[in-house]
Amino acid sequence: MSEATNNEIRMPNPEKLIVSSSPHIHSKSQEIWKIMLWVILSLLPAAVAGVWFFGLPALEVILLCVIFSVMIEMAWCMIEGKPVFGTIKDLSAVVTGMLLAFNLSAGVPWWICLIGAFLAIGLGKQIFGGLGSNPFNPALVARVGLLIAFPKIMTTWVPTRQMIAEAPTYSDFISRADMVAIRAGKLDAVTCATPLGFAKNAVTPQLVGRTPLEAGMEKFYAVDGQDGLWNLFIGNVGGCLGETSALALLIGGILLISLKLIKWQVPLAFIGTVAVFTCIVNMVSPTTTPDALFHVLSGGLFLGAFFMATDMVTSPMTTKGAVIFGIGCGLITCLIRVWGGYPEGVSFSILIMNALVPLIDRFAKKIPFGYKALEKGEAI
């Protein structure tokens, strides 16, 4: 080859080359912000359902939580000396904000959102070193923290639009509590109980000649008419704004599972354990707790099973561990729901299982390729 042609050929400039370890290419679809974006998208059905049932105040709570979460993350990064827009770009703060809002009643005042966002982002995540280092689910840290600090506000539920419109007898069972004081003029001054609250008989006075559970359940079905379970499924019941609609959560959950962003074993083990456990208890002693279907559809079980227990950072990494984690969550949830002091145990159970994750990780390891062959002596 002659010198002349050599000069025309453009060659790479060695000084501009990058040296780094193999592999040199990367899957373009695997980015933290893309994962978070999918989670946000799959949370949207539940958000829409929340706004549909609880009205614009629900939207306001969602927006406030998201905005506060993002702002607190930015502020934290600023104080810590990190780039202010550095970590919000991965959208994890938005996800945390949404999950936090889903765990609040539609009727909470703005400052609950602020405190919740601070608990979630500050105490739940950034204090441990940011995304990836937090051992507990940030949104749940905030929810449990708020529940303990402000029990009254956190257990005051607003009824859905349909409930107010359709059931004139509704007012018999609502306590005209201090809703006015909480959100002056924004909602009707009514509150209602969650289905699990009815079951726990936490708010209804006991009727003569019936067990507390029967009385509670009767009231639940009386409030919601014949379609009690259907209402439970679509979310036309009282509760946190994002947890009531099992249908919407199921849609989002299936989206996440089909994208392989969460392990399907966790929700299955979680919900399955609750179903089996409550079914057994209900069969042995029907007066202790309602039937399994009621338990599965009520409370924050779907939200917890699909979106909180499956949080990558705070759940085990192996499939084996994920199953153990799910079963553990289910058991603790049932324990608290059936015999505990709180009507709902999903948040507590996930938080406790979060703490167990390092131990689960330690014992639920995978057997590397070729190790079984070594033990069995399959070698020739």
Partner: protein, 445 residues
């Protein structure tokens, strides 16, 4: 005879293979260049000893360095000419290595001193094995382990299967693919020679299903050689030794052991063709097929280049680049080595020269692991990659060892899918180096 793979390993990834860039272009012979830099140690094992000195004249194929032991291989001159200086050139691993400069005289005259053995079917296996050793043949797929050593299993190990690796699971690379298309007989006959050396009957050739033309071509010619062509699922790292054995035979190589512990010997298809040349033509390993590819390359393709050609010359053959690449990689994008110099010569195991645009290369970060578990799902060895890398990052090498970090293939399937862009393979390499150093310190032998 065509077969379908028996077992499928768990994990693995399916990156876009981009093989269409160069798979259509036939192997071209590279022209003779003025100078070659032949690195002396081109294999795993004892370094060879130089047998020529500056000023000597050599013929093409003449031995310029003799083996330094049993696990070693000789090195031959890629062309006829005179020996220039003996100096250090940048090696593919980035460390300078001793090399011999050969100034071509333009005659390109053969003089290997090895006679062809056309009647190998009736030649003693020992003679064939010696020929393979003398021809300096090493594994051409990547590891560069001397082939005659692989063909000399200890008598205690019963070998019953020879597997030719034609999976070529690395994206971009097409050298093996073209070789299988253009020289199927050489590969099949080379396989038969190896089968004779090993004294076995079962010979398989595993090819990923994305090369249907190669499968069909080899199938059509395989009958007289009694070689079974196995179609493999397209999955990286299907071409990993242990994964290939598992796919073809259904046997798992026990942890920490070699393929021969599962009764198998695995050889690259390029090695088989080189053995064919060495035995039937009497030609030592002085040239090989290399793919030059990547989006920035003007004319990607496959070239038969002499060992010792600086990669700058090879890139020039492909017309240079149309834009500044971000990386120059020897080997494939998953396991190859990024280069900082274009003076690195082609080695016996250089299967490809890959140039990548900067936007296509991964930008590693030290972001914390978000524990998504992608790496664990992808790992073909079923290791807890993410946890291991966290331990290594905190210099807890003993804990990483407890999690079997030493079994890692470094295939890169973990880091490929890591949403946090963590340099998992680099962590593993560091841990392996540190653990080996610690062990060497504990028992200095």
């Amino acid at each position: 005879m065509e077969e379908v793979q028996k077992k499928k390993f768990t994990g693995g990834i399916h990156p876009k293979d981009n093989k269409e860039l160069s798979s259509g272009s036939a192997i071209q012979n590279a022209p003779l260049f003025e100078k070659y830099h032949v690195i002396l140690c081109q294999h795993i094992g004892a370094p060879p000893k130089l047998v020529v000195k500056t000023g000597d004249t050599v013929k093409k194929g003449q031995m310029i360095a003799e083996p330094g032991g049993f696990v070693s291989a000789p090195v031959h001159s890629p062309t006829s000419g005179t020996i220039g200086k003996i100096f250090d050139v940048p090696g593919p691993s980035g460390v300078n290595q001793e090399a011999v400069e050969i100034i071509a005289d333009g005659q390109d005259e053969w003089g290997s001193g090895l006679d062809p053995i056309p009647d190998w079917q009736n030649t003693a296996p020992e003679v064939l094995k010696e020929r393979i050793a003398k021809a300096g043949i090493v594994g051409m797929g990547g590891a560069a382990f001397p082939t005659h050593v692989k063909l000399s299993p200890p008598p205690a190990k019963k070998i019953d299967t020879l597997i030719l690796n034609g999976a070529e699971c690395e994206p971009y690379l097409t050298a093996d693919h073209r070789l299988m298309l253009e020289r199927p007989e050489a590969i099949l006959e080379g396989a038969s020679i190896m089968a004779r050396v090993l004294g076995i009957k079962n010979v398989y050739i595993g090819i990923e299903s994305n090369k249907p033309d190669a499968i069909a071509g080899l199938n059509a010619k395989s009958e007289p050689y009694k070689v079974n062509v196995v179609t493999l699922k397209v999955r990286y790292p299907q071409g990993g030794e242990k994964q290939l054995i598992y796919a073809v035979t259904g046997r798992k190589v026990p942890q920490g052991m070699l393929p021969m512990d599962a009764g198998c010997v695995v050889q690259n298809v390029g090695t088989a063709a080189a053995i064919y040349d060495a035995v039937t033509q009497g030609r030592p390993l002085v040239e090989r097929v290399t793919t030059v590819t990547g989006e920035p390359v003007v004319n990607p393709g496959n070239w038969l280049v002499r060992i010792g050609t600086p990669i700058a010359d090879v890139i020039r053959l492909a017309g240079g680049v149309s834009r500044t690449p971000g990386k120059v990689i020897l080997g494939g994008p998953m396991m190859g080595f990024a280069q900082k110099s274009l003076e690195v010569p082609v080695m016996k195991n250089t299967s490809g020269i890959l140039l990548l645009d900067q936007v296509d290369t991964v930008q590693f970060t030290s972001q914390p692991c978000i524990r998504c578990g992608k790496c664990i799902d992808n790992c073909p060895m079923d290791l807890l990659c993410g946890t291991i890398s966290c331990f290594i990052e905190n210099e807890k090498f003993d804990k990483a060892e407890e999690l079997h970090v030493m079994d890692c293939l470094e295939c890169g399937a973990c880091a490929y899918d890591c949403p946090a862009h963590r340099p998992l393979v680099q962590h593993v390499r560091r841990a392996k180096a540190e653990i080996r150093a610690r062990k060497a310190k504990q028992n200095p032998k």
